[in-house]
């Protein structure tokens, strides 16, 4: 854990503004006054009088947008909207200061070159061996050999070693042994961006595979013998089957439109023994707009139940999640139940294809439901196969139209599965959220650039660190106590229900920073503690048993004593969270326009004082210093209550959430 210290920054690099207010929308009581600093890498807010380290740290690379609002009585509001869905609201007393911060931050949060990204300046002093160790933690070769590859039918073909056939593919690719070089080259010329069909997942038990590619350049009538041979070879590499599926994950209309541009989809008449299937997942632009609407819904201020559900419906987000899940389910069933190989593509084969292949893999293989398995899966299907992280996550200033929450949707599919199968996953949702943050934060080198080649050219592995080892070292935080690997229904293929009611709103991701929205006690944390204690007790008991064997002279007496102590041990059934019962009253006043105004500045009730902040920050990563907003609450009670600008609408704004009208 890196300890950030404001004093460590050279003075001249700091922009410093005093008397800035950090506004907590849910409670003006929790508004903090303090000093705002801008450094080369972070925005930092240090609350006045806060002794603990609950300063707010926000990485510039996590900032999605900076917005100035119209001046209010109390100053000039500045909103920082982050890629992890946090919205930070500052009020700056002077207009010129506000403008300066706005200009600086706008520039700082829109890097133009990769070199400006945080991963290149983070932790440069760590020695080479340690950095290399972090990269060696995951090994894709080992992953393929875990699957059972290479074998007598599949091998690594060196054709793309120099990225000459396809510059967005990894260097090492598995293709059927029977395929010759000219076939690969020919097929790649017949596919968008040269992304020829290659292996993504191999099922040891029945030899069925999931292969992936981009769309064929078939237009209305073009064909390519090599490409047809390629598919034939893939089909034949699965000796048990007489056909294979070709899944186009686009809506049929989109695929047909592509034909006019000389692209398109496979004609069943030209390819032997394929069954062609459309699965209508929408494109990146639709997904971007959908998530935007979802974010707006999640940010609604005290919406009514109807407004929230209608907003959720209108965003279409869960409909898209469901379509991705259904595609994954279709493929995993084809592989596991029918033993049939599947070729998946979309247009370029790096967005929907990656989503669908990886969802199918999670459903098929219990390994991907373990911590390390999910890391490997993301490294394989997303990082190595050229998901364009830089474009999709907007790491650099550039085409806004290229940004799309494609990987968010994959993580959400995994979350939806975890909700349906609480015992099937080794990891918990904190793990998914941490991965999500690191994908966007540019803190580590893994998700920089758009392809393996670009990363190699940029020498990422020599200059930056890998996130996976870092996450692995924190794995205790990410464990699901309910995980039952040996349970029969958690083995092999997961068969999720795709009934619409199974798709839920992911509150922890989208409202992560609205603390008052989340359960006040955590069942999982509690169970984790209990499990750890049980283990500790087991170990210690074993130790005593050893000792007692040595001390068998007074065996009877010893046994008696041990029982006595064990009884007193019941107190250990202690839970981590009861002090953090964040039980403040909620917004119960909404909709009572006529009466009920609580006296301002009344005494704090016992509950509020106990609004402790011992809740383990779910994301105590180095980069997540921004999670501190809510931590001000426990200190704010002593503050004089601020003139609340919205006190007219909101008679009870001091403690309960402001009202909806």
């Amino acid at each position: 854990m890196i300890i950030y210290d404001i004093t460590a920054f050279p003075k001249e690099n700091l922009v410093k503004v005093e008397h800035v207010r950090l506004v907590d929308r849910s409670s003006s009581r929790r508004t903090q006054v303090g000093t705002l600093y801008l450094t080369a890498t972070h925005t930092i807010f240090v609350g006045k009088g806060s002794e603990d380290r609950n300063d707010l740290w926000v990485l510039h690379s996590l900032v999605c947008n900076v917005v100035k609002h119209k001046a209010s009585q109390s100053g000039y509001p500045l909103l920082i909207i982050c890629k992890n869905f946090q919205v930070i609201r500052f009020i700056i007393p002077q207009e010129s200061d506000c403008h300066d911060v706005y200009i600086s931050l706008s520039r700082l949060s829109r890097p133009e070159k990769y070199e400006e990204l945080y991963c290149f300046s983070f932790n440069p002093n760590v020695d080479k061996a340690e950095r290399e160790h972090s990269w060696d933690f995951l090994d894709l070769k080992a992953e393929y050999s875990r699957m059972g590859l290479p074998n007598k039918l599949w091998h690594v073909n060196p054709i793309n070693r120099e990225y000459r056939v396809c510059d967005t593919y990894p260097a090492d690719l598995f293709v059927p042994k029977s395929v010759t070089l000219p076939v690969i080259v020919g097929s790649s010329k017949f596919r968008s961006r040269g992304r020829f069909p290659t292996l993504s997942y191999y099922c040891k038990e029945n030899h069925a595979t999931i292969c992936r590619s981009s769309q064929p350049l078939s237009g209305f009538s073009a064909r390519c013998l090599e490409d047809e041979q390629m598919l034939q070879a893939i089909m034949k590499s699965n000796p048990g089957s007489r056909f294979m599926y070709v899944v186009d994950t686009r809506p049929k209309l989109n695929a047909m439109a592509n034909r006019a541009a000389g692209k398109g989809y496979e004609n069943e008449d030209n390819y032997c023994n394929i069954k062609f299937q459309f699965i209508g997942i929408e494109n990146i632009h639709v997904m971007r707009n959908s998530q935007q609407k979802l974010i707006e819904v999640s940010a609604l201020h005290s919406p009514s139940m109807g407004e929230f559900l209608t907003g959720l419906e209108n965003s279409d987000w869960l409909r898209h999640i469901k379509s991705i899940m259904e595609a994954g389910l279709f493929i995993s069933k084809a592989v596991a139940e029918e033993g049939v190989s599947v070729l998946v593509h979309c247009s370029d084969g790096w967005d929907r294809t990656a989503q669908v292949c990886s969802v199918a893999s999670v459903l098929l293989d219990p390994y991907y439901r373990t911590l390390k398995g999910l890391m490997v899966l993301i490294e394989k299907d997303w990082v190595s196969f050229g998901h364009m992280f830089s474009h999709r996550c907007g790491h650099l200033i550039g085409e806004a139209k290229e940004v799309s929450p494609v990987i968010d949707q994959f993580l959400e599919c995994v979350w939806q599965l975890m909700e349906q199968f609480p015992c099937a996953f080794e990891y918990n949702e904190k793990f998914l959220i941490s991965i999500h943050i690191h994908i966007y934060s540019c803190h580590y080198g893994n998700f920089i650039c758009n392809s393996q080649k670009e990363r190699k050219d940029l020498c990422i592995k020599e200059k930056a660190h890998s996130v996976w080892l870092h996450l692995w070292e924190k794995k205790l935080d990410f464990m699901n106590p309910l995980f039952k690997p040996d349970q029969s229904q958690n083995q092999g293929l997961l068969r999720p229900s795709t009934a619409p009611y199974c798709f839920k709103y992911w509150r922890r991701l989208y409202n992560r920073f609205d603390r008052e929205l989340h359960p006040r006690q955590s069942e999982l944390d509690c169970l984790m503690t209990v499990k750890e204690e049980t283990q500790k007790l087991e170990e210690e008991l074993a130790l005593y048993e050893q000792k007692m064997a040595v001390l068998d002279k007074e065996r009877a007496k010893t046994l008696y004593m041990q029982k006595g102590v064990l009884d007193s041990k019941q107190a250990l059934w202690s839970l981590p969270l009861d002090t953090s019962l964040a039980n403040t009253p909620q917004d119960y006043i909404g909709g009572a326009p006529n009466v009920f105004t609580l006296q301002q500045g009344e005494r704090e009730s016992a509950e509020l004082c106990l609004f402790g902040d011992q809740t383990k920050s779910s994301d105590a990563d180095n980069s997540d210093q921004e999670s501190g907003v809510a931590d001000f609450s426990s200190h704010s009670s002593g503050e004089e209550s601020l003139p609340s600008e919205d006190s007219v609408k909101d008679p009870d704004s001091d403690e309960t959430g402001p009202n909806r009208a």
Binding site: P422, C423, Y501, L527, L541, Y544, V565, D567, Q570, F596
Partner: protein, 556 residues
């Protein structure tokens, strides 16, 4: 007419039964006065299915060739199908079910015939009484008394025989106040807060009528409730407009000029038919075969069920704020004071009072605030979500309460001693039960029907140690604090355990629950046989006791 006369065909062979999670079964179907039975064995020794006829909400008949299919939709939301060879048998069975599932006479209902060998009828019935609550609540002794003015149920037919009232108000005044309140439901004490002695009262609306009648005794009674302190809150569960309109039909509200120390807050709550229709729509949405997310969300929204959950929890939270944070007493009422009033006052108690979060405490709360307080269970629960019968007095307010309690449990998974299983059991029992607890509409009716003498008490039976264990929350850790739930729409969820109970979805959750138990049990085995006296000892140093033992062992 004897019940058996409704049965024209008692037995049918070769019936096929289809239900969720089970393969289709072939066997014998049997109708008795109170049950539908199914067995796949010739000797009929083991029943594969035993359904209380009262649990059946609706049936649908369909003819397929010479045989018929009956779809049975139960009040606990289970749907099953019977394929019966022979049209005549099918029709006979259907008409028996229709007649026997809608018995009106209380004493003909199954609780009066339920005689299990392990229970005797002479045991105690119910868990507590007004008098006992008074005795247990020391805070009340000084200023409050138990009044038995309603011992013959003449002052208020829906109230219990004993109520808790301010000492300084005599029974004559109470009688006058009762005349001024709809159904005679004058303000009575519902809860006294252990921290500050503030009380929650409940009543029905005052009968002020169009010409603003007043009742001095009613005003005095409320004045006596707040005694000395400056202010009380009246939470009126209707919108201000509705309360105004109620005056046209003889009802009304407490006007500021006559109740000067009481501040009135209006919160709109849906009632009666609207809530019943919500349930019907929600259940319909849950069984919609369409696979469209949009359609699901729009139906969920359209049902408004979660909006009712939202309002109930919000108003309960408001009451708790008044009592706990502001230190004021509260009077809750709507119109009749038998539905939303009870919902809000009992939820407020669950949030406020640690004692009501234990199994016993929660059942006592239900007994005091619902059964003794005169929630008309028989009328409200006559039909559930599937019935096509014309709605009369049905309203799933009690189900709404259970849903709200479930939401609180989701947000405070360690704070309740009982588990979701208890809520599910209650949701089932309230519609169809072997026990007499939820029979009738009031204590008076139960008395007249001899419920206490002739049926068994559900709550007593739930508290038997072997039974209670099924309903415990393995993670229970008592807390003294108020547990304020979040009422943001993002925080409220569909109660999948109830509404999706018969889907695969709920099955996976069952697996998770078992795993929670096994983790906790394993811990108990390691840490000691029972942890009944565990305390909030969060910060104790986990290593010390063992280290001490180590030392002693070394010395040995």
């Amino acid at each position: 007419m004897e019940l058996s006369e409704h049965i024209k065909t008692a037995n049918v062979e070769d019936v096929t039964l289809r239900r969720p999670f089970h393969p289709a079964l072939r066997g014998t179907l049997c109708v008795t006065s109170h049950h539908l039975l199914f067995s796949d064995r010739k000797d009929e020794a083991s029943w594969q299915l035993l359904i209380l006829l009262k649990n059946i909400d609706a049936i649908e008949k369909r003819a397929v060739g010479s045989s018929g299919t009956i779809t049975i939709k139960c009040k606990d939301l289970l749907v099953l199908q019977l394929e019966i060879p022979g049209m005549e048998e099918c029709l006979n069975i259907a008409s028996s079910i229709e007649a026997l599932s809608s018995l009106e006479s209380v004493t003909e209902m199954y609780p009066f015939f339920y005689r299990p060998s392990h229970l005797t009828l002479n045991g105690p019935w119910g868990l507590s009484s007004t008098e006992q609550y008074y005795k247990q609540t020391e805070r009340l002794w000084d200023r409050w008394r138990v009044s038995t003015l309603n011992s013959d149920y003449s002052v208020c037919p829906s109230y219990p025989s004993a109520v808790i009232m301010p000492r300084e108000v005599d029974d004559d005044k109470l009688i006058r106040s009762a005349r001024f309140r709809q159904g005679g439901r004058f303000p009575v004490l519902s809860y006294c807060h252990h921290r500050n002695g503030m009380v929650i009262m409940r009543s029905s609306q005052p009968l002020t009528g169009a010409n603003k009648k007043r009742c001095k005794e009613d005003e005095l009674l409320l004045q006596a409730v707040i005694d000395g302190s400056e202010l009380g809150y009246i939470i009126d569960l209707r919108s201000a407009q509705q309360a105004q309109q109620a005056r046209m039909t003889g009802g009304g509200f407490e006007s500021k000029s006559f109740y000067s120390h009481w501040k009135r807050i209006h919160r709109h709550h849906e009632r009666g038919k609207v809530v019943q229709e919500s349930l019907i729509k929600l259940v319909e949405a849950c069984s919609d075969p369409s696979h469209s997310v949009d359609r699901w969300l729009s139906k969920l929204e359209n049902s408004k069920w979660l909006s009712h959950v939202h309002s109930a929890l919000s108003t309960a939270g408001l009451v708790v704020e008044c009592v706990e944070r502001d230190g004021h007493s509260v009077l809750v009422h709507g119109s009749e004071g038998t539905d939303n009033t009870l919902l809000v006052s009992s939820l407020a108690q669950l949030i406020l009072d640690p004692a009501s979060r234990t199994v016993t405490g929660f059942l006592c709360l239900l007994e005091r605030e619902w059964i003794q307080a005169g929630h008309p269970f028989q009328q409200r629960c006559a039909h559930s979500a599937y019935s096509h019968a014309r709605l009369k007095q049905e309203c799933p307010i009690f189900l709404l309460l259970l849903d709200c309690v479930w939401q609180v449990w989701r947000q405070f998974p360690l704070a309740l001693e009982f588990s979701e299983a208890l809520l599910l059991r209650l949701a089932q029992e309230v519609y169809a039960s072997n026990y007499g607890t939820f029979l009738c509409n009031s204590e008076q009716e139960r008395c007249a029907a001899g419920v206490k003498e002739n049926t068994h008490c559900l709550f007593q039976s739930l508290l038997r140690p072997d039974i209670e264990e099924q309903y415990l929350n393995p993670l229970y850790e008592p807390t003294d604090l108020a547990i304020w739930p979040s009422v943001h729409p993002q925080s409220l969820q569909l109660w999948t355990g109830l509404f999706l109970r018969w889907t695969e979805y709920a099955q996976n959750m069952e697996e998770a629950r078992e795993e929670v138990w096994s983790i906790v049990k394993e811990h108990h085995e390691q840490a000691g046989p029972d942890r009944t006296n565990n305390t909030l000892s969060t910060h104790c140093d986990t290593l010390t006791p063992f280290e001490n033992l180590m030392d002693e062992l070394t010395i040995l």
